[in-house]
């Protein structure tokens, strides 16, 4: 099995219009499907980027900054990690997740054979 990261990209600021309740239910449904297929490794939604803290090593000191690494038009709103045989299987889950969230989903392979 290979591990893939499915990142859900969300536009900055207000959530896109849409029935949030339905979206939540649809995402939960995909999650359950993943678990019963034995492909689920981890999933979770994130608090907005302004809650982030960045650590950086500068010379010998560690500095800390308030806010995300980069301000961007889109940020990762949530992520799911799956274990599946190949990219086609990962893309099939990615498609479901994108349909459920109504947002773009990036599928990216992890290094190493798990």
């Amino acid at each position: 099995m290979k591990h893939y990261l499915l990142s859900i990209y969300q536009p900055a600021g207000e959530l896109p219009p849409g029935d949030l309740k339905k979206i939540m239910a649809d995402v939960r449904h995909v999650d359950e499907e993943l678990r019963s297929a034995g492909a689920w490794v981890f999933s979770g939604g994130l608090h907005p980027p302004e809650t982030a803290t960045v650590l950086r090593r500068r010379d010998s000191a560690m500095t800390m900054t308030d806010g995300p690494f980069t301000e961007a038009k889109e940020h990762i709103g949530g992520l799911t990690i799956i274990a599946v045989p190949d990219l086609d299987a990962a893309l099939a889950w990615g498609r479901k997740l994108s349909a459920a969230t109504t947002l773009p989903v990036e599928v990216r392979p992890f290094q190493g054979v798990a």
């Binding site: 290979k2 045989p85 190949d86 086609d88 990216r108 290094q111 054979v113």
Partner: protein
């Protein structure tokens, strides 16, 4: 007895490279390693065949030699504790050697044309792995540097490996969509060679030949897919006009002005036989319909003798599959031959194709027939301005227009 000269080996190379890489990629589980092994086997052939003569089955010899060399190398590397080599060796041992070769080539085609790869990568991989073209040849054909093309190929093969793009024929549910992607890549290669044949470099014409060769492979591997047959028929019928399509000074000659006695009759009869078979099977699709349109052109002695009513009907059918303004524009050009310039112009003016040089070119042709000469001059100028723009060529490549 065959002497196995360098040119013969080159011939075997062109014919068998894709097949050998396909078998080895399954067997070795890694495209890069497969390519290396096949190249090594050809290097050995180059050394041995002139001396010992060509083996009875050159392709089998290449595959066996490549496989043995690769396994030897994995053993040596695995013995030194290389875990990647160990994994490859395990994979190779687990492979059933009896899988038919055809399945391997089909797998490789679907891997090269995987939609997770960019268009450019799909085309480059297909030409490299299935066509056996060198990186330099592909770079030359696509007017880019060898270093850029090498980088693109390395990146694409890296993605296949690291992202886990599977090496297999897609499932029945995914097959129509995936097959369509394969056909598009082959048609793109064909058009790149066909459209570029005016003026530029001659070697680009070989891309069309390569696309036709790939088209034949697809028909051979997927005999039940009428669209594969339609694509091959379409390419053959378009290519039949190549000898008449340019003047000696490489200027483009339009379909109306072409000397039809120079059309290649062998290609036409093969193309038309494919179209007839598609019609009998009666499972139409966009490539088959475009092939049929070109078949109608191929049987007419002149523009006037062309069965334009039939062509308009075919365009109507094509619009159901490809409802694009470019198809509508081509239909309008056919309407001009049947219903006159006014009806055609009305259809053309509805289309949102201001950036497409043929839109203006067709207007420039129709307007004078209605006495609107000033507008015609402007349309002609607009067509010229756009033709000088290289972007228009890219645009053309994506169009489904018969030329």
């Amino acid at each position: 007895m065959s002497t196995g000269s360098g040119t013969q080996i080159e011939h075997v190379f062109r014919e068998q490279y894709g097949r050998a890489v396909a078998v080895l990629a399954r067997f070795l589980g890694d495209i890069d390693v497969a390519e290396e092994a096949v190249q090594e086997a050809f290097a050995i052939a180059l050394e041995r065949w002139p001396r010992d003569g060509e083996p009875p089955s050159p392709a089998g010899w290449i595959i066996t030699t490549a496989r043995n060399r690769a396994i030897d190398r994995f053993r040596r590397e695995a013995a030194r504790g290389d875990r990647h080599a160990e994994a490859l060796l395990l994979h190779a041992r687990a492979q059933d050697q009896e899988t038919p070769v055809n399945d391997d080539r089909l797998r490789l085609i679907f891997t090269c044309c995987h939609p997770a790869l960019s268009w450019g990568s799909q085309v480059a991989l297909t030409l490299r792995l299935l066509g056996g073209l060198t990186t330099a040849e592909i770079a030359h054909a696509f007017l880019t540097s060898e270093a850029t093309m090498a980088q693109r190929l390395t990146r694409a093969k890296g993605k296949i490996r690291d992202a886990g793009i599977p090496y297999r024929v897609p499932s029945d549910t995914d097959l129509p969509e995936r097959l369509n992607a394969v056909l598009e890549v082959v048609y793109l290669i064909f058009n790149e060679g066909y459209l570029a044949s005016s003026g530029q470099t001659l070697s680009r014409g070989e891309l069309s030949a390569e696309a036709i060769r790939l088209g034949r492979v697809l028909v051979e591997l997927m005999p039940d897919e009428p669209e594969a047959r339609g694509l091959l028929g379409l390419m053959l019928l378009i290519d039949s006009r190549r000898p008449a399509r340019t003047t000696e000074s490489s200027a483009l000659v339009t379909l109306a002005e072409q000397d039809r006695t120079r059309w290649d009759r062998t290609l036409i009869s093969e193309g038309r036989a494919l179209v007839r078979r598609c019609l009998r099977e009666d499972r139409p699709g966009p490539y088959q319909i475009q092939a049929a349109i070109n078949a109608v052109h191929s049987e007419a002695a002149s523009v006037r003798d062309t069965d334009w009513t039939q062509i308009i009907m075919l365009y109507d059918q094509l619009l159901l599959y490809l409802p694009t303004p470019i198809v509508a524009l081509n239909r309008a050009a056919a309407v001009a031959e049947v219903a006159g310039a006014e009806a055609a112009l009305a259809a053309v003016e509805q289309l949102d194709l201001d950036d497409y040089h043929l839109f203006h070119a067709i207007r420039a042709e129709l307007l004078p027939r209605l006495g609107r000469n000033d507008e015609a001059v402007r349309a002609h100028q607009a067509a010229l301005d756009l033709t000088e723009n290289r972007a228009e060529r890219e645009f053309l490549l994506r169009s489904a227009a018969p030329r």
